[in-house]
């Protein structure tokens, strides 16, 4: 949401975002239920740690998605809050701050992933290879996105 928007257009954009909250809630809940039921115990040969981790993660995702959905609904019902939310989301300084934070996070993540590849390789080849795969994926994704935006702008 970077361009000038009317309040109705912003409302539509918020409604589209709510779809992701619903998907997040459903996926989180499904993960939580799947890995905490007898199916996970009997059919999947997973350690208690992994089952607990997946259950917790699913519950967290479902909970966060539900809270975001409720907040979004409340904001859309209140015109004053909706206008305030629109100003916060479209404020150029806020957008610049988020952009800079994402850029720096990406760079730091890249470096820590690289360190992770080296350290993980000392203990587990599989983990090292997976992390390497992530580095390659993010590198390619970044290059592709640069090309796309160069053509668009």
């Amino acid at each position: 949401m970077t361009e000038e928007m009317t309040i109705d257009e912003f409302k539509q954009a918020m409604k589209r975002k709510e779809i992701f909250y619903v998907i997040g809630f459903v996926l989180g809940l499904a993960t939580c239920i799947l890995f905490s039921t007898a199916y996970a115990n009997n059919q999947m040969h997973l350690t208690e740690l992994i089952k607990g981790f997946y259950t917790g993660m699913g519950g967290g995702v479902a909970g966060a998605s539900l809270i975001l959905l409720i907040r979004s609904r409340r904001t859309m019902k209140n015109e004053t809050k909706l206008k305030q939310k629109k100003i916060e989301c479209l404020d150029e300084r806020n957008q610049k701050i988020q952009g800079k934070a994402k850029e720096l996070s990406f760079q730091i993540m890249f470096i820590t992933l690289y360190i992770g590849v080296i350290v993980a390789g000392l203990f587990s080849e599989v983990v090292s290879m997976v992390l390497s795969g992530y580095i390659v994926f993010f590198g390619i994704l970044n290059s592709v996105l640069i090309i796309i935006f160069q053509r668009k702008m």
Binding site: K86, I87, E88, L90, E92, R93, N94
Partner: protein
């Protein structure tokens, strides 16, 4: 970049929140603009100039050293 936003706002006797509402930005953005910590985009600079009924150059003081950032 230095600006004359604070002086012009006080001339009009309006608060930072009033100006923020008129420009549809947050009050924090107005504070940062007045302190020179944030450089407005061309669109925002034009909106500010239009609000105060002045030229952009009358409000935003461009220093050659600003270009280094």
């Amino acid at each position: 970049m230095k600006t004359k936003i604070k002086e012009m706002r006080k001339e009009k006797k309006i608060t930072q929140q009033d100006l923020a509402d008129a420009l549809e930005v947050t009050r924090q953005t107005i504070i940062s603009l007045e302190n020179g910590k944030y450089n407005a985009s061309l669109v925002l600079a034009y909106k500010i100039a239009r609000y105060f009924e002045r030229n952009i150059e009358d409000i935003f003081i461009f220093d050659e050293e600003d270009d280094l950032s």
